[in-house]
Amino acid sequence: MQGGNLRIVEIAEVVKESPSIWTIRYRDPSPSKPGQFVMVWVPGVDEVPMSLSYTGDEKGITFRPIGETTRALSELSAGDRIGVRGIYGNSFTRTGGEVLVVGGGTGIASVIAAVEPFVSDGKVHAALGARSREELFFEDRVISAGAELHISTDDGSKGHKGFITDVVRRLLGSGWIAQVIACGPEKMLYNTALIAREFGVPGQYSVERYMKCGIGVCDACSLDGRLVCRDGPVFDGDFLLGSEDFGRFRLSPNGTRIPV
C-alpha cells in the first residue's frame, strides 16, 4: 500500500566488520535515503527494524548479534533468503555548513550512509564511539569519503577514552559546526542533543523504539504522539528535548510505558 511490500531477497554477501559486527548485503534497487530503515524478516525467527547502512542498489544492514534475531542473521550466508519490507521512515537532511555526524555503537550503521553524500556539500566530521576498538566499524568508509574521523572508546582501546559526547562537546566548542546528526543509545543521543542545544546547533537524531508494523498503524513505536516508524526515526532536537518520552520512557511490546 505504501509501496513497501514484502520482497524476498537473496543475501549477496555477509561481511564481518569487526569481531562483533556483521553486515549483510542484498540487491534491492528500491530508492532510499540515509537514515531510512527496512523491516528484516528472518524466516522462522522474527522480523526486526534495521537501518540501511548502504543505500545504493546493493543495500546493506549492519548489526551486532545481541539476541535471537540478530544472532540468526549473523549465521546466514550468501545465497540464503530473507524478507525485507520498506523502505520506511524519514531521513537525515543536510541543512548547510560543517556537519558533525555522531554514531554510537550500532548507531554508526544508521548515520554512516549520510557521510558519503554529505561530504559533497561541505566539510563532514564523523565521531564514532564504541565500548572498545573491537566494536568499532566503518572507520574506513569515513576516511575514504573524505570526512574527518574522530574516535572514542569507553575503554580507551582506540581514540579518546571515554564517551563520544566528550568528543561532541569539544568539536561543537570549536564553533565551526552548523549541524549535528546522530544515532546511538538513547542516553548518548539525549546528552548529544543537550550539548547541541547548549551551543545553539540544530540537530537530527535517529531514535529507536520497539516496532511491530513499521507502517504507522500499530502504535508500538509511539513517542509522544509521533510514530518513530513513520514520522521518524529521525527527529529534530527541539521536538525530542521538549517531549516527555525522549530519554525517559518507551513502550514495551505490550504497550506499557516503561523507562528507557
Partner: protein, 299 residues
Amino acid sequence: MTSRVGKITIRNPLLLASGILGESSGSMIRVYSSGAGGVVTKSIGMEPRDGYRNPTVYEFESGMLNAMGLPNPGIEHFSDVISRTKAAGVFTVGSIFGGDENEFSHLAGKMEAYGVDAVELNLSCPHVEGFGSELGSSPERVRSVVGAVRQAVRIPVWAKMTPNVADMGSIAAAAEEAGADAIVAINTVRAMAISARLRRPVLSNTYGGLSGEAVKYVGLRAVYEIGKKCSIPVIGVGGVRSGEDVAEYLVAGASAVQIGTAVAERGPGVFGQVADELSDFMEREGFSSLKEMIGIARR
C-alpha cells in the same frame, strides 16, 4: 458534520478504528487533532499481552493483513492512557476483549470508571483463539456477553461484528436484543498470506485479518444487511479511504464510520482530509446534514 450515534453526539462521523494508533494517549490526541470525531482504543484485555512475534503485518496493493495478537498492557495499566486522552477532550471509546461475559463485564466496568464515553466489545478478532471470532459467531454467546455488559455499565455499549459468519444480521439482532446501543461492522476478514519463495506463511500466526480497500464492499454489505435487521445505529468500518467512501457507508445506512488501514496509507492526517472531502461531497450533492444521507440507499 455533527454526527449522532444513539444518544451520543460526535463532532463528525469519522472515528479511529480499534487497534490502530489506539494504545498511547499521544497518538489518540494527535488523531483527534488531525480531525477525527473521536477514537476507539486498541482492544484491552484482562492481562498484559505482548501479542504475536513479527511479522505481524503484510501489505499489498489494495490492503493489508495483520495478526497482531491483541497486544495490550492489560486493563489495570490502561487508566493513565484513558485519563490523558479524556483530559485532552477526545471523544473516547474503550475497546475490550475477553473470554467470557464475566471478563467483558469487568473490563467494561473498568473502562467506565476510567472515563470512556462508550465501550466497544470486540466480539470479532479473527486470529486469536478463544477470543473474538468463535465468540462472535454464536448468537447465544453474543447475547450473553452483551447482556452482561449492559447490566454492568451505564455508558453506551457497542458490539463489533465479525464478517466471518454466514449471517451477520441475526448476530447483530442478538446484540440488539441484549441491549447493545450500536453495532460496529466489520472487523477484519480471516485470511492469510503465503510466500511461495520461502514456502511458508508470512505472518508468524499463519492466519490474519484482511483490511483496507479489499474489504470495503464486504463492510458496505454488512452495514446494509444489518440495517435491515436492526433498528439501533450501525457504525461502518472497512476500507474507508475517502470522503466518497464515507458517503457510501452513510447512504448504505451507517450513522458513522471508523477508519483503520487508511491511516497507514494516508497518515494520521487522513481524518481531516476525509472530513474535508465529505463536506465537499455534501455541498456538491446538496446535502445539508448527515441525517439526510443515512440509509437512503435502503429506501
